[in-house]
């Protein structure tokens, strides 16, 4: 069967780079064209084996230590022992940044915090969870283990959904502190990237839709649903985080089974 679609479009579809109209066209085209649907399947399969293939090289610990030392000033280095400095920085840097931002903006600040400031805290919380190797307090891919763990630690019960079947396995949960609240942080994975979902009771009414932003190379999506507020953050692409947020919203609204 011959086909006039440029083959590259199959890849743009695979990478979620097409607009809605063109995506729908491609989906229709896959039904009619065995070559293109085969190429699409092949591409998906390849993506799967690449993500599972152990191909991501994380920076060695020695490089991490050295790079930190390069950037940290010599005076500070003399004052602190290496491991102490490491730990303080891991926790301190995002907090310090948040503090600097908070202090400069205090006169402008009304309670509750503006979305922009919360987004800063969300990104700091995400970075903190990666840097301090304190990703989860309860490490489990089982929502029936993660959900009960929050009981007694929070004054609300977050809904925990498992998304492994959609390519976002649950890694566990953690307590965090955002916008003057103790909040639930749920951690998911996409390839070698981590996604944090922060959840706490909403102070505003109604579903205002999704709000997207990005800072420091991290993407952030925020929405309210069922009297809870949700913030999700990761360094995966915007389109993947949108896909993730869409699935979370869908699952929370109507959990399967």
């Amino acid at each position: 069967m011959s086909c006039t679609e440029p083959r590259d479009l199959v890849h743009a579809y695979l990478d979620r780079e097409l607009d809605l109209e063109k995506s729908l066209e491609m989906e229709q085209h896959f039904k009619d064209c065995a070559t293109c649907s085969g190429a699409h399947e092949g591409g998906r399969e390849l993506r799967h084996v690449l993500s599972e293939g152990g191909l991501y090289f994380r920076a060695p610990a020695a490089l991490r230590t050295r790079t930190r030392a390069l950037i940290q000033g010599p005076a500070e280095r003399a004052q602190r022992s290496r491991s102490f400095a490491w730990r303080t920085m891991a926790l301190g840097v995002p907090l310090a940044l948040a503090a600097v931002l908070a202090l400069t903006l205090v006169p402008l600040l009304k309670s509750p915090m503006t979305d922009d400031l919360v987004a800063d805290e969300i990104v700091s919380g995400h970075v903190r969870s990666l840097m301090a190797t304190h990703l989860t307090d309860v490490a489990s891919s089982d929502k029936h283990t993660v959900k009960p763990w929050f009981e007694g630690k929070l004054d609300f019960a977050p809904t925990v959904v498992d998304l492994a079947d959609r390519g976002f396995p649950l890694l566990g949960g953690r307590l965090d502190y955002i916008d003057d609240h103790s909040v639930a942080a749920l951690v998911y994975q996409r390839r070698k990237h981590f996604i944090n979902v922060f959840v706490w009771p909403s102070t505003t009414e109604g579903d205002l839709g999704e709000r997207r932003s990005s800072r420091h190379g991290f993407n952030v999506i925020h929405w309210n649903a069922a009297e809870m507020t949700y913030w999700t953050v990761s360094d995966v692409s915007v389109s993947e985080l949108e896909e993730f947020a869409g699935i979370v919203r869908e699952r929370i609204a109507s959990p399967p089974g």
């Binding site: 083959r7 399947e41 920076a59 840097v93 390839r191 995966v236």
Partner: protein, 192 residues
């Protein structure tokens, strides 16, 4: 290590002149992308030790030029610096790595799915690594940034300094070549 000492001393001059607030901002926005920087350098240079050296130099450079960074996507910004440093390093040490031409304009025809899916599923870590390392550098960087780092086409275009259309065609060709290599490798294993 001697080279580390040198780097630390040379950077001491930089950090002394940098106000603490800028340093804190740098630590918060650029340091978290160390894994991404190292992964890209490792795949472009195909060597762990060289990748460490180039990443360290890139961070010194990034720190020095941080004043010129006006917000936005700090990961893409850092990866652009790392990518350029890798190319500069290769031009001096292994020019053949960056001069091997590849057919930029030929749009490949993919074969279908079928039995090839089984071939992909049975590919082991070593053959996947070999397949990626054999790609010409321009195809390799596109697929690494997309599949391992999850960058959008626009971000890849910015990092690799190529038009978005070229990103799309490079990804198409990388995937085609990876699948062909893995099929051929599986064929050899069966016949040997």
């Amino acid at each position: 290590m001697q080279s580390d000492q040198r780097s630390i001393q040379s950077s001491a001059k930089i950090t002394q002149l940098t106000p603490p607030v800028a340093r804190t901002a740098f630590e918060a926005s650029v340091l978290p992308h160390l894994d991404a920087a190292y992964n890209l350098a490792r795949w472009l240079l195909r060597n762990e030790d060289d990748a460490e050296d180039v990443v360290q130099d890139s961070y010194i450079k990034a720190f020095r030029f941080y004043d010129g960074f006006r917000g936005g996507n700090s990961r893409s910004w850092l990866l652009t610096i790392v990518r350029n440093a890798c190319y500069t390093w290769l031009r001096q040490a292994r020019p053949e790595d960056v001069t091997v031409p590849f057919d930029e304009d030929v749009h490949g025809r993919d074969s279908g799915g079928g039995p090839e899916a089984d071939v992909l599923r049975s590919a082991n870590a070593q053959s996947l690594k070999d397949a990626l390392e054999r790609l010409p550098i321009g195809l390799r960087e596109a697929i690494v940034l997309r599949e391992l780092e999850g960058l959008s086409y626009a971000e890849i275009a910015a990092v690799a300094d190529i038009p978005i259309g070229t990103v799309m065609s490079r990804l198409s060709r990388s995937r085609k070549r990876l699948r062909e290599f893995l099929s051929a490798r599986a064929g050899q294993e069966i016949s040997s």
